[in-house]
Symmetry: C2
């Protein structure tokens, strides 16, 4: 892992803590990713990105800023990155998948009954160990859950945090609110960056980001094959990196990977044996570097073939309609995408059941692992309904509640092993 102390210091990182944070990553990555047998060759790009995870991309962003381009961060699939791209800037999906900064965040938070993702997000900033935070002009939060909604108020003390109100239903009036929120963000970006977001640029940005979604769909399509040509952890990693890589480069590199994978599928070549237990993960996001569940499943002989999560299909399945010519039409289209994402933050959210049943069929899965970040009430409260629907289709399912620590690894290993044996 390359060191860029000069840049990190300039960005205001806590160098000592940052070193401590990065220290275990190369070993973990080697064990979990690099050591896989028969891995697609094109994974070398992503290995390269991870190998310099706080270097090369950060350097690019520092350069962007020198040119006066905005760098704007977010944590959620609902934030329309198209607006940032249209302003000539870079949109970053921030890291929030590590236990490391959680104890620091807990100093600001009363009690511990809070989702680890939220604690991790706040902790990364408080600990000053995330160069992406430090290079950002501001953060765009959203009201997708009680915990995030209130923690943005705290985060705002550390970095300007702009909050979008995502409605909680899909009523026509709620959609109007969302549309007006997208427009408000547009104006905020314009004001902050001094860049006007023009219809022509926004049309291009919509096309570009849709292409990123297309290439992820193409990647996921290859996973429908048995044997799967790529491991679940590699696919997860790619989706995680999609949140902060340069979109055009990401599309190019992932297209190249897809070509290799499609050839493998054609040849019946897989990352695991044909017939390995095929798992769909449904539930809450797994932000970088949260790889625990995939690791446990695949080290026990299963293969994750799809993620119905915010770091999976919820990130790319819903696309922005491309027809819009005026800003008004385009913003209406951006709003449309949000309303087509079936997040548990909405009520009702019956379409999510359909999504999961459809994905289980499309990816020909043997079982579903319902992954729930601790204290995420909305996803937790949808489990019963979803497990009932899956059982109705004779698809085995278990729920796993976890955080980003290793404290439950042994217990999870036993449960996952038992589940894989059963199916």
């Amino acid at each position: 892992m390359k060191k860029h102390y000069q840049m990190w210091e300039k960005l205001g990182l806590n160098l000592e803590k940052h070193d401590q944070f990065l220290e275990p990553l190369p070993g973990l990555y080697e064990d979990l990713f690099v050591s896989q047998e028969n891995r697609p060759v094109a994974m070398e790009y992503y290995d390269f990105v991870v190998g310099d995870i706080h270097g090369i991309r950060v350097k690019e962003l520092v350069e962007e800023k020198k040119k006066g381009n905005p760098v704007i961060s977010s944590f959620c699939v609902f934030v329309p990155e198209e607006l940032v791209a249209a302003a000539g800037g870079a949109s970053i999906g921030l890291c929030a998948g590590s236990q490391f900064p959680v104890p620091t965040a807990e100093r600001e938070l009363p009690g511990s009954d809070l989702c680890p993702l939220i604690k991790s997000s706040l902790g990364f900033k408080m600990d000053k160990i995330c160069p992406y935070f430090e290079v950002s002009d501001f953060v765009v939060g959203e009201t997708t859950c009680d915990g995030k909604k209130k923690v943005w108020e705290i985060l705002d003390k550390y970095i300007p945090t702009y909050v979008m109100e995502l409605p909680q239903t899909k009523l026509k009036t709620a959609r109007q609110l969302w549309e007006s929120e997208i427009n408000r963000l547009k104006e905020y970006i314009e004001e902050n960056s001094g860049r006007e977001i023009k219809a022509e640029k926004l049309a291009k940005a919509i096309k570009l980001i849709n292409k990123k979604r297309d290439v992820l769909q193409r990647l996921y399509n290859t996973r429908k094959a048995d044997p799967a040509p790529i491991s679940g952890r590699d696919a997860l990693l790619i989706t995680q990196l999609a949140f902060f890589d340069d979109p055009a480069r990401f599309i190019e590199k992932t297209s190249a990977l897809c070509e290799e994978l499609e050839i493998r599928v054609e040849a019946g070549e897989g990352i695991s044996e044909k017939g390995a237990a095929r798992i769909l993960i449904a539930g809450t996001p797994m932000p970088l570097p949260s790889w625990k569940i995939h690791g446990l499943i695949e080290q026990n002989g299963g293969v994750v073939v799809c993620e119905e999560t915010c770091t999976g299909t919820r990130y790319f399945e819903a696309k922005v309609p491309e027809g819009g010519k005026t800003l008004e039409e385009q913003i209406d289209n951006l709003a449309e995408r949000g309303m087509n994402i079936n997040c548990a933050c909405f009520t009702p959210n019956e379409a999510r059941v359909d999504d999961i049943l459809r994905l289980a069929k499309e990816y020909n899965v043997d079982g579903v692992i319902y992954y729930n970040l601790q204290f995420c009430q909305t996803y937790n409260l949808e489990y019963k309904k979803i497990s009932k629907a899956l059982k109705g289709e004779n698809i085995p399912v278990i729920q796993i509640e976890s955080d980003f620590s290793d404290s439950d690894t042994g217990q999870l290993n036993t449960r996952i092993q038992a589940f894989l044996e059963m199916i």
Copy 2:
């Protein structure tokens, strides 16, 4: 406690469970309320209501239904009961403050990381021990927190549950959504009841419910005196009963009580000694029959003089402007009230800090107990900010997290005792 088995059976109550549920109430009520020395005489009305808590009012509601009047239930101060009154119906704030039905609710809920109020609400219906549920045409839920939002989906399997989307900010566009939600509820009530809600009736209903708020404010004003003329538990009980009593009768009876209290204040007569530690409770609601915290404070020599909760000032301080002549204006005014309530469900919610500091001053309190229902993330996440503001004004504060069970009574007693000694 009077028995009305014939009516209860007709309503479909589980008579055996219902008996078990009611069984400890008279003893508890005797110990906590009736046994108080020097209690205002006019409390006898509320004693009478509690003594027949599942009888006389339920009978009235059954009669209302026979006349074709709607009976509509809710759980939250944001639901505009004026609309129900304008349709000639009765609005009921449902019970949700008992541990008794929680184990039943937990059968429908995954894990136990959920607010006891929400579990209790669902459990009352599942157990069939609440005649108010059984006499209701439908329930009006709202999106004030993740837990409630998703549990309405489950409750809807047991009783029709209509959900209002309360926005999460107070932006102009969010207020518009709330206004349209009030209008949507109006139409739903009209459709369901076959009653047209006319401007003239709604104007009267707005005045009536404002009068209920006024009388509660008048009651609270008497508590500003030292010694307080009424105990905190009695005042809490009155607010709890305000949610489901007939508004006109409640106003009459509570006005009579206020007259007595004002005379006591004039005479310097109190429920406790002058100089008893005066406590403001701030935080989450205490629905009927949740009296634990008040009991512990007052049995340890303190006196609760104000509640900054949904079963306190958040229920009555914000009033509906009365000028509206057209339905449009009136609905705009109903929306205005909601936007003036400083619930932790909003972001930002800085005005709640001001509210608490103001109440601490107005009620001349010696300390604040921040009461947090377990797993209520929004209120929990506001604690740090509020405690900091209070400490800045040299007002002592502790946070108490609890549920409706007695399992933590000993521990809470010790903490409350220590707090009262300290201040």
